[in-house]
């Protein structure tokens, strides 16, 4: 609730009794009176109030009479105390509220017909409810409209100075990009310093604005709310799985709105731990790709070397005939498939079923291979669970959060809001281990800036420090003395001085951080791309589990090891068995019981064990000619993997390359057949977010052009290949999954998982732990001399994969500058001005490009966003394949930079 009685979720506030409109009500002591009133189901008008932040009390609408007071009081800022007698209705209150509306309206322009908020405006509703028909002394403000921002327009004539935008930005999102300024005799909302707004552009200020003072530039004047068809669906950009509404007019997406809005102001503050309902810049402003002009409208088939538009029937005949003939000539092992984790669960399930049952090959993989599988394999191996064990609520209520190698505000902005809430509401200690000065590091209590690529070393240092400071949980380690002895022995080889030298973090800071983490009653570990997408990611996750184990955090409520995922359905891809090692439900592919079950259910023999291939292996087999046909669904390996992966050579060798994508991607340009697929807005289905919640995708519009949903195309191919099941809708596939994986459709409320580390710690742990603790790589020094700069490729807040580069709204915010971000010190030392051109050379090649200063980078490091291949910086990256999980890592390289 809004006025919090305590800052710790552990302490319960006292229960008190008060009377509202003559009825006795119980409430927590010290919360806002407004919340107590709204919890009884009464709705008292309020314009400046929202339950996600502390009451501000500027609108003067929520007036109630409290016994003993002569004048009405504002319910939002009043605290509920025992024995209070409150009256919320009555003609005197109606007149007082009407006066407040008149006060606001007298300085509000009556430009409703041209205002974007018309029909969705709280002031309009209030004026109507209170029958305001005549305004004495109305005046106009005539403030020019602030159109300097890229995405939002500020029309301060309409502002009622309720402060909701400022409060949500400062209190909930901790971005603090807006402020009040007194200008021209009126209080106005402006961007900090009255500059053009430049923030994270999450648009939550737009969502909570009760009038039309803040409007969306991308849909300005294009609609009236009543003309739009609103479809609630799940965002398709990252693993957070935010719920949002796509609003369409015919076949055009006009805007995207979030559940957070001034309309849902009534709620309980403790509920925000499950999410405050907001969405990020990608969700809110990155919708243009859905009806983009670049969408594929017709199937394409290669004739005489060029792709030409061909009717569906003909194309499907080609695909099915060629697949059948390749299978007949070379066996099912000549066919492989790749799928993106942006597809729905049903499609991922159908894809692996198509490959395994209809074609008979286990050569299939999804984009979860790029990193998430490192985490899944590690937690399966060590803890016996298949996903992260905590949810957003645990993150919000944690006392210590260890963020390792994740720029969480950029990759998963809404999970970051949970961390921010932990910091602000529950005063949590946050330790950020990253090589960049991230936005979350700026808010964290313990920002640890390590040298690029040394996150793993820092984790070893943390384990060592916990052992050295004796912060060990005796109960947890006591159950497995042998394993603990082995870990102690292994960690003995790690010297904290060497860790300090290797990471650039002094020893006493490592000790402090280890103590903060170990002593917190509820401590959460969140690892991201800096761990799971780097070489040795699997082992680093295991080290994190070691750390959680010896500090006694495994299995304790509110503690756990977690990750964030980049693509929306990476968890679903693993759960649905779109990986050679897993059958649906994460059953091992070589588990005879599971094989039997699925073979029976599918009425087909499963492909033999040991013949499966992961993404790097599929590409190798394509190159060697073992694989003749590749079916690529939404994946784009050519633009994702560096040149050293020799993807082009692999794809050119194929006899048949079928690409199924909404866009003509780089990979699709090489294809023999390109099938136009729908985006998430044009189909039904479900996705599984990083917490394991299964969330609905709902069809917002008819498919664009002749494109078809992926499940539809895959069903057609399966049927063409003589495999029987005919699915008429995703519901049919869902029914089949429900039968095979009972309980998977959890309606957004996944079962709590508890880690079971005992088997792992008692079998073979002692033998394997030694290899993980080797201290700093000995050759690091000489390597650093040869290649002085660390080049990282990573995600920007404004983009997700290559998909978002098709969204013109996001490209407008963050275009491809083609520039390398460098530390300012390095630039001055090398005499580089902004936009000066440099040659970047790695062991894999060299690229010429311009530079730009970046204040968040450490000296000796540079950054290029992974979303853009122009110039081809990705080709500088060496490709390293994890020996345990086959995860290809290619986001980090050591380079030299020369001025040209």
């Amino acid at each position: 609730m809004a006025l919090k009685p305590v800052t710790s979720p552990d302490t319960e506030a006292a229960t008190i009794e008060l009377s509202i409109d003559g009825r006795p009500v119980t409430a927590k002591d010290g919360v806002s009176l407004y919340d107590v009133i709204s919890s009884t189901g009464k709705i008292v008008a309020a314009m400046c109030y929202h339950y996600t932040f502390d009451p501000f009390g500027s609108c003067g609408m929520c007036l109630v009479m409290v016994e003993g007071k002569k004048a009405p009081v504002r319910a939002c800022t009043a605290k509920a105390t025992a024995g209070l007698v409150v009256r919320t209705e009555g003609d005197d209150l109606f007149q007082a509220r009407k006066k407040a509306v008149e006060k606001h309206l007298s300085v509000h322009p009556l430009d409703c017909p041209v205002c974007d908020a018309d029909g969705h405006c709280e002031l309009q509703d209030m004026a109507f409810q209170h029958q305001v028909t005549n305004l004495a002394n109305a005046k106009q403000k005539l403030i020019p409209e602030d159109t300097r921002s890229l995405v939002l327009d500020f029309n301060m004539n309409r502002c009622i100075a309720c402060g909701e935008c400022i409060n949500v930005c400062k209190d909930v999102l901790m971005i603090d990009a807006l402020q009040f300024v007194k200008k021209g005799g009126f209080t106005q909302v402006v961007a900090k310093g009255d500059l053009p707004l430049s923030c994270e552009f999450c648009g939550d200020c737009l969502a909570v604005c009760p009038v039309g003072a803040i409007t969306n530039k991308y849909s300005k004047y294009l609609y009236k709310p009543w003309q739009l068809k609103k479809t609630t669906t799940t965002c398709n950009y990252c693993g957070d799985g935010c719920q949002m509404s796509i609003e369409t007019k015919d076949s055009e997406v006009v805007r995207v709105t979030s559940p957070l809005s001034w309309k849902n102001k009534w709620g309980d503050r403790s509920e925000t731990a499950k999410g405050h309902g907001g969405i990020c810049v990608r969700g809110r402003f990155g919708f243009q790709y859905i009806d983009s002009k670049n969408r594929l409208l017709q199937p394409l088939a290669r004739r005489n070397g060029t792709l030409v538009e061909t009717p569906w029937l003909e194309v499907m005949h080609t695909v099915v005939d060629r697949l059948a003939s390749i299978k007949a000539a070379h066996g099912p092992q000549a066919i492989a498939g790749l799928i993106t984790a942006r597809c729905s669960n049903e499609e991922l399930y159908l894809f692996q079923k198509l490959m395994r049952a209809a074609i008979g090959t286990n050569q299939l993989d999804s984009s979860a291979r790029y990193g998430h599988l490192n985490f899944v394999h590690a937690v399966r191996e060590a803890l016996g669970v298949g996903r992260m064990t905590n949810d957003w609520e645990d993150i919000t209520k944690a006392k210590a959060i260890l963020l390792v190698g994740t720029d969480i505000t950029e990759t998963n902005p809404l999970t970051a809001v949970r961390v921010k809430e932990a910091i602000r509401v529950y005063k949590s200690q946050v330790i950020v281990v990253d090589s960049v000065q991230t936005r979350i590091a700026a808010l964290a209590s313990h920002p640890m800036m390590v040298t690029p690529g040394s996150e793993g070393l820092f984790l070893q240092g943390l384990v060592k420090s916990v052992i050295e400071q004796d912060l060990i949980d005796a109960e947890a380690t006591g159950r497995h003395p042998e394993a603990f002895a082995a870990l102690k022995h292994a960690a003995a080889g790690v010297s904290l001085e060497a860790v300090a030298a290797g990471t650039g973090v002094p020893v006493d800071q490592i000790h402090e951080v280890a103590a903060v983490f170990a002593e917190a009653p509820r401590a959460i570990i969140l690892c991201g791309e800096g761990v799971v997408r780097r070489p040795g990611g699997y082992r680093q996750v295991l080290s994190l589990i070691d750390l959680a184990w010896i500090t006694g955090k495994l299995g304790r409520p509110g503690c756990g090891v977690n990750t964030v995922t980049e693509e929306p359905n990476e968890q679903g891809a693993v759960d649905m068995g779109a990986a050679p090692e897993f059958l649906p439900g994460q059953a091992r592919f070589d588990d005879p019981v599971a094989r039997d079950k699925f073979a029976k259910a599918w009425g087909a023999e499963l492909p033999p064990m040991g013949k499966g291939a992961t993404l790097p292996e599929i590409l190798r087999r394509c190159r060697s000619g073992e694989i003749k046909a590749l079916y690529v669904v939404g994946e784009n390996p050519l633009a994702t993997l560096p040149a050293s992966a020799e993807v082009k050579a692999a794809l050119e060798r194929l006899e048949l390359l079928v690409c199924q994508d909404p866009f003509l991607t780089e990979t699709a340009r090489l294809a023999h057949v390109v099938l136009p697929a729908c985006t998430y807005a044009e189909k039904d289905g479900t996705i599984t977010n990083l917490e394991g919640k299964v969330l609905r995708l709902r069809q917002a519009m008819e498919p664009i052009g002749e494109s078809l949903p992926d499940w539809h195309i895959m069903t057609a191919i399966a049927n063409g290949l003589g495999y029987a099941p005919e699915y008429e809708s995703p519901q049919d596939i869902q029914n089949e999954i429900m039968k095979l994986l009972p309980g998977y459709y959890n309606l957004g409320q996944p079962k709590k998982l508890s880690p079971r580390p005992d088997a792992y710690l008692s079998n073979g742990y002692a033998a394997s732990v030694g290899s993980r603790y080797r201290g700093a790589a000995t050759r690091a020094g000489e390597e650093h001399a040869r290649w002085p700069f660390a080049l990282t490729m990573g995600q920007l807040l404004y983009h997700s994969g290559k998909l978002s580069t098709q969204a013109s709204g996001l490209i407008k915010i963050a275009p491809n500058t083609g520039r390398l971000s460098m530390n300012v010190e390095d630039m001055t030392r090398m005499g580089l001005a902004e936009e000066a051109r440099v040659r970047v050379t790695s062991a894999k090649g060299s690229v010429e490009l311009a530079v730009q200063p970046d204040l968040t980078l450490r000296p000796g490091s540079c950054f290029f966003p992974e979303h853009f291949n122009e110039p081809p910086v990705k080709d500088l990256m060496p490709l390293e394949i994890d020996p345990d999980t086959s995860v290809p890592s290619f986001k980090f390289a050591r380079v030299t930079i020369e001025k040209i």
Binding site: D111, C112, P113, V114, D118, L142, I143, P144, E145, D146, T147, R148, D153, N155, N157, K220, Y221, L222, Y223, K224, W226, Q227
Partner: protein, 188 residues
């Protein structure tokens, strides 16, 4: 039969009395003002409140009155209006209707759209002749509606006055909405 009756009969026969008697009405009408209205050679004078074809109006300076607010679209009971609104790129921050359609074949001439219009951009005229060889021509687009508005400007204004939508030209200017300027200086 007596003589008097005979003579009377003869006289009537000689003078074609029955014919004259029968033609009486006809001859009376020769001197009567004609009742038949010679449409379309003659046009009837219509009252100012007449609800005819809809037209879009401009201000005296030639600016379109319509701000594309879509209110006529929701007010229309027969759903014959479609407005596509957009931001005018040449006049930043101003809203206008980039497209405006009225399907006059569906229109029931109730005049609700005119009442709904906040800037009195729509008005009904005395135009009621729509016959055409091509029914598609009856889907009036924005250009056609402005043409109607221009050609029948006086009637349209009279309609608005008669329906108490506005009193005079001065009041139409009072209703005009002026869009705020941008803080950005327009590029010269």
């Amino acid at each position: 039969m007596n003589v008097g009756a005979m003579i009377n009969k003869l006289l009537r026969a000689a003078l074609f009395y029955e014919i004259w008697d029968a033609m009486k009405v006809t001859f009376k009408h020769m001197f009567h003002r004609p009742i038949t209205f010679q449409y379309p050679r003659e046009q009837r004078t219509l009252p100012d409140t007449h609800r005819g074809a809809l037209g879009l109006l401009r201000y005296d300076d030639g600016a379109e009155r319509c701000v594309g607010c879509d209110l006529c679209e929701v007010a229309c009971p027969s759903h014959c209006i479609k407005v596509v609104s957009a931001e005018d790129k040449t006049l930043p921050l101003s809203r206008y209707a980039s497209e405006f359609y009225i399907d006059i074949t569906k229109c029931v001439f109730c005049g609700y759209c005119v009442e709904a219009c906040p800037v009195n951009a729509l008005a009904m005229t005395k135009l009621y002749e729509y016959s055409t060889h091509d029914k598609r021509a009856l889907l009036f687009d924005k250009k056609r509606l402005y043409e109607i508005g221009e050609r029948h400007l006086e009637d349209a204004k009279k309609y608005l006055y008669a329906h108490n939508q506005e009193k005079d030209d001065q009041q139409s200017r009072d209703y005009r909405y002026f869009f705020p300027e941008s803080v950005l200086k327009p590029k010269a």
